[in-house]
Subunit: 358 residues, 2 copies
Amino acid sequence: MAKYNIVLLPGDGIGPEVVKEAVKVLQVIGDKYTISFNFTEALVGGAAIEETGDPLPKETLELCRTHKYILFGAVGGPKWEDLPRDKRPERAILDLRKKLELYANLRPAYLFPSLAHSSPLKEEILKNGIDILVVRELTGDIYFGEPRGREALEYGYKAIDTAVYTSREIERIARKAFEIAKKRRKKVTSVDKANVLETSRLWREVVTEVSKKYPQIELNHQYVDNCSMQLIKNPRQFDVILTGNMFGDILSDEASMLIGSIGLLPSASLGERDIAIYEPIHGSAPDIAGQKKANPIAAILSAGMMLKYSFDMPEAEEQIKKAVISTLEEGYRTPDILREGDLPVDTETMGSLIAEKI
Amino acid sequence: MAKYNIVLLPGDGIGPEVVKEAVKVLQVIGDKYTISFNFTEALVGGAAIEETGDPLPKETLELCRTHKYILFGAVGGPKWEDLPRDKRPERAILDLRKKLELYANLRPAYLFPSLAHSSPLKEEILKNGIDILVVRELTGDIYFGEPRGREALEYGYKAIDTAVYTSREIERIARKAFEIAKKRRKKVTSVDKANVLETSRLWREVVTEVSKKYPQIELNHQYVDNCSMQLIKNPRQFDVILTGNMFGDILSDEASMLIGSIGLLPSASLGERDIAIYEPIHGSAPDIAGQKKANPIAAILSAGMMLKYSFDMPEAEEQIKKAVISTLEEGYRTPDILREGDLPVDTETMGSLIAEKI
Ligand SMILES: CC(C)[C@H](C(=O)O)[C@@H](O)C(=O)O
Ligand SMILES: CC(C)[C@H](C(=O)O)[C@@H](O)C(=O)O
């Protein structure tokens, strides 16, 4: 019997509620495929600050390194907003990505046909569906470049951030995007701001170079400002969007809203080695925490991505997706996607309904 | 009789076509208000590169300094895409902004009721209209910070951009936003990425400080990734969006798409002194240049902003807006906003129809 050790990092806000439902689904999969999942929970984010003063305690980081497969909830909340940058809950997720070298963030935005009415976009734009995969670079750019900080001036301060990309960093994420595009609709849109930024010029050069090894994949380039329009105007034009850390943050959230709710979008953060983090892209949503209102679908689909990318069980992921689709088709909805005539359910019930269908 | 010197910088692609229509409208206003507008045309962008090798010739810059009021078309095109960053057409607009210290970029996104069907958003989201003013900082951030460039590594290159903001730079743009909000719906949403960036942390601190002098204005803060969602989900929540150069570039283009076409959005770039640039926010659109398909409304409304902000003629601006609204209500449409049953017109006809109504 296959055995996998999974680290659970529920974190803050709705994190624990949605991770619980994802675990429920993984357990059903485990029974079905006779795999034993061994779950170990650890502290992260605000929850970790409260207990230890550190958003990413050493034990948590060590556990992630040894157990490798990480299901992450969410971190952050108003309670910790005024802490300095290095002490905030968000530091935990940034440090995990950087220290575990998880440079490739995959964020699929797929429109469930039964949820087309929840999308803010007109039906005519949605008629051919939306099926975008944002491949976001996760360990470089303005998120980590040095120097960063502030210095005192005669009047006030001067603050500085530095964006850095090397050819090698761009090359490896580009290769990832092209490899994935092979198994999809064979189109990569690389997004940058090459008319202004030096990092973007290098980005465009290296991506173009890598593309030569993938003659079967169509490559086009868009400026980030144009892409933010094109996503709304004609989302169907996109298959794989390949972009840097900062633009990827903005564009993937924008894409998530097109499909109706950020509560639906999973993500995977991968590197060269085995270690990977799976995480719903919604945040901790402190305003609805503890009220059973959270949508667990993003977390459940994140567990699905773990099955596919870490355990090479694409059929199991497919089963989860199908269970989600048929639960939505039956009309069950958490509050974020509820409309007149739907069947309202809470977080736990949604999780159970999906789990039962597997 | 009042006399104003206006510099026309038509530039590339559809720039010359739309600037021509804006001039047509200004001439009608001149007759009506007995003002003499004296237009002087100068080279900029790709057009200037072809003639002089320089995207912003010295004579053009000097003319802008002395004549002060600048109507700008658009720059750029595939022909010049492979030039190094410092020689590209885009350099012209970046240098104009920086050298003339035009730090405040106002980008209104207003939904014309008769164009609600052209918006990609569902009717229910549009029912209370969209009326957003993006106030974008224009001379700082990652657009201009030093160092920037690349260095050779053993393998490939390392490229660097630097984002910089000083307290003073943030303060002056914040003050501008609050002053403008006073005359609008009295709400400012400041957008940053304070959970990651040092420049954003300073941004948030200074904006909060400035807001204390404006107790009648409601201030809230959003992260840029969240704002890119909120714009689509509920654009009505926004009055004035105050943000930096890079995020402002992305968010203002996103906002423009919500109202149906980027061919509708004007902008003003202002500083402490009299000099100002008025510019449609669409680009040079080389794919439709010379085909009479361009929508001149953005350029015409930009001329309207000139009347308001440079010549203190808000009634004249109102008249232009009304002429645009009634032309649209009569059903006339350029191709970008054309739908079944509309009356198709070309660039010149649209300009004339609007001019006649003033
Ligand atoms: C919490 C924050 C640091 C993070 C990011 O910007 O990467 C989040 O927005 C995300 O997209 O995962
Ligand atoms: C052409 C480009 C340099 C410019 C910018 O990014 O500022 C444009 O996109 C704009 O928004 O005016």
